[in-house]
Symmetry: C2
Subunit: 143 residues, 2 copies
């Protein structure tokens, strides 16, 4: 604690490989940490940072987008225009993704509840609102 955590320790506590952490550092997602005789020393703060990175990645951010995401918070600077645009665009993407996932979930759920779903039903269920159009409230309970 007083000495800081090694890369192995922080990797274990974040459930991630040391190689990934080095890769994130190389990619500019993590700041270069202090070193003690050549070895990286991290604080607990970095664990939180790693978790955000994991969530961002799981939400579909690329490494580059995640870097922009993180740098949107840099210091006390209010989000720059570039960051704002990215955020707005990403929100739209996330909304679309959410509806698609919701539909996919519905199909998965109903398909192994009723056991009689055919692929044509699936197409209708998933594609009900079209891949682009924001159709409201057409949640079909197939089961």
């Amino acid at each position: 604690m007083t000495t800081g955590m090694s890369i192995g320790a922080i990797a274990r506590s974040a459930g991630i490989a040391p190689s990934a952490i080095r890769y994130y550092e190389r990619s500019g997602l993590l700041p270069k940490p202090a070193r003690r005789s050549g070895q990286r020393r991290y604080t607990a703060e970095t664990v939180g940072r790693l978790r955000i990175i994991q969530v961002a990645r799981a939400a579909g951010f690329t490494i580059t987008q995640t870097r922009t995401f993180l740098s949107g918070f840099s210091g006390a600077t209010p989000p720059a225009a570039r960051w704002r645009a990215l955020a707005a665009q990403k929100i739209e993407e996330l909304d679309l993704l959410m509806t698609q996932i919701a539909r996919m979930r519905l199909v998965l759920k109903s398909s192994f509840q009723c056991g009689c779903l055919r692929i044509e039903d699936c197409e209708r269920a998933i594609l009900a609102a079209g891949p682009r159009e924001g159709d409201a409230g057409r949640d079909e309970p197939c089961a």
Copy 2:
């Protein structure tokens, strides 16, 4: 007219590259279509199939998972055990993903509304509901 659609036509109408369609065929996501003098001929049905594939991919299914997903509906066969297990597991993944995306969306939204969010606030917001992080299928049997 009843000659069916060319790969170029179906690619345009699905908003996807012909090369991707051939790749899907190779990967077993699409059945081998009829041929007229060597060239693939598709029906409109395949457009729907392609859309499902796109949604499945967008929801995070790999090609292999998508194949299992599609084959879960094969013929009139009720979903097999393998498919059911995949579906159950995928639903859990999707649920986790949904909550994470919702949080991410919230953070994105609030961050460019108030313009004063710091990264520590972000960590608290995103990580609020606990670090139940998704699996990456990292268990590989050494066979």
